[in-house]
Symmetry: C2
Subunit: 249 residues, 2 copies
């Protein structure tokens, strides 16, 4: 009887070539599959809730794997895998789930966090963990701009192309929450799904609004321009500021 293990995985995105399996085997998925293979003695496929790009961090990526035998308890699996993984990838929690659970297809939504350091100097320990924006940001303006994202929209003007065209580019954002603590501006995006680079393009648009390069209302007009040629300057916020916080099921 095969057993399906659900994994909550955290990683330092700066150390790996993104989530997805790579020819050089430095995707987070590769490291997980290697760890499983070392315990099980045969190939185990690990299925993630979605990809993250190189540099993007995860606090709670979700994945599942089918094990040929239920040999160990979930806690034993966690210890065994963590013992084999690099310390910059950790199984935070894991448990056995029904075969009907699928990390990607069962997902109801995700929460991403984007961190911006709005000060003269980026502290060394924030290096690769926040976007350094020197120009003063108008926080209230960013909050107003963020509200335009909330709701159901065609987000194609906030997506990058990843080869195959995506048919349905409508997504629902439940919540966009901004907070400021000294020079640190944090944006949280909670939605039912995210197109390729959507979180980073939204963060880029909010920084444009905060720095006065565009008005908050231009986010609304850009959303209406979906599927048409985008005329405004788009900025993809750097990968290092983005954190996949959790996947909702």
């Amino acid at each position: 009887m095969a057993s399906r293990l659900k994994l909550i995985v955290a990683y330092d995105g700066g150390r790996f070539a993104g989530w997805q399996s790579q020819p050089n085997r430095n995707g987070v998925q590769d490291h997980l599959e290697t760890a499983f293979a070392n315990v099980v003695g045969e190939r185990v496929s690990v299925h993630g809730a979605g990809r993250t790009d190189a540099g993007v961090h995860a606090l709670g990526q979700c994945a599942h794997a089918d094990l040929p035998v239920r040999r160990y308890s979930a806690d034993r699996w966690r210890s065994a895998l963590n013992g084999l993984l690099p310390p910059t990838i950790r199984i935070m929690r894991c448990r056995f789930v029904a075969d009907s659970f699928h990390a990607r297809f069962s997902a109801k939504g995700k929460m991403y966090r984007y961190r911006i350091w709005n000060g003269d100097v980026l502290p060394p320990l924030e290096c690769g963990r926040a976007w350094h924006v020197r120009q003063p940001l108008d926080f209230d303006c960013m909050v107003r701009a963020g509200k335009f994202f909330v709701g159901r929209h065609d987000f194609s003007s906030f997506a990058a192309n990843r080869g195959a065209p995506v048919e349905d580019t409508c997504r629902t954002l439940r919540r966009v929450h901004l907070r400021r603590a000294g020079p640190l501006v944090t944006i949280e995006f909670d939605g039912d799904g995210f197109l390729y680079k959507m979180a980073r393009l939204m963060a880029g648009a909010l920084v444009h609004a905060g720095s006065g390069k565009t008005s908050p209302q231009e986010i609304a007009s850009r959303l209406r321009q979906a599927r048409r040629r985008v005329t405004q300057a788009r900025e993809v916020a750097p990968a290092g500021g983005l954190f996949l916080v959790r996947v909702r099921y």
Copy 2:
């Protein structure tokens, strides 16, 4: 007229061979001196408030340097140096000071912070920034133990040897403050000076007390054993958990 520049320096200790100049030129001091030499065109000595070991981080190390000419404003110096330094070393602030100021000899005290992750799994982004202690720690017991450090004591039983013997091993700790936020235990040591590895040996002793390996009172008896052969097991807490927060003048 030479001008003395006071620097507040932050660095990710995991990337460098400690503060002090090294034969392989990978001390933080080496990087600073190279950056100065690139601007000034001649060798400039950088004097730190004290050394930090490889792995130990700094949020506010202090240093000074004498510049042959006062060519730029302090702000220009900060930008110029930060433009030449690796992003994991930053001049956070700098200003010109009187020649009577000396980063080391004028220092009245320092504040160190030690971070402990007391949970089953160390999150990847805490890797090299906290000591992972799996065994549950009795926080109240650590607080009681910490109080024994406060005041003026001969700390020689909480110091490692660094070649030349230190004549005066008496130091005054003004404050030892512990706080707990979920699995994260933070200890702050504020004192007029610290012997070699003293902060890490104190953190190690507090973890021993918190895990029940020793009683809080044993810290008092170990302080009384100063200059005598230490009989208790000593543990140097790992470098990555230690942060030099600020130098007081």
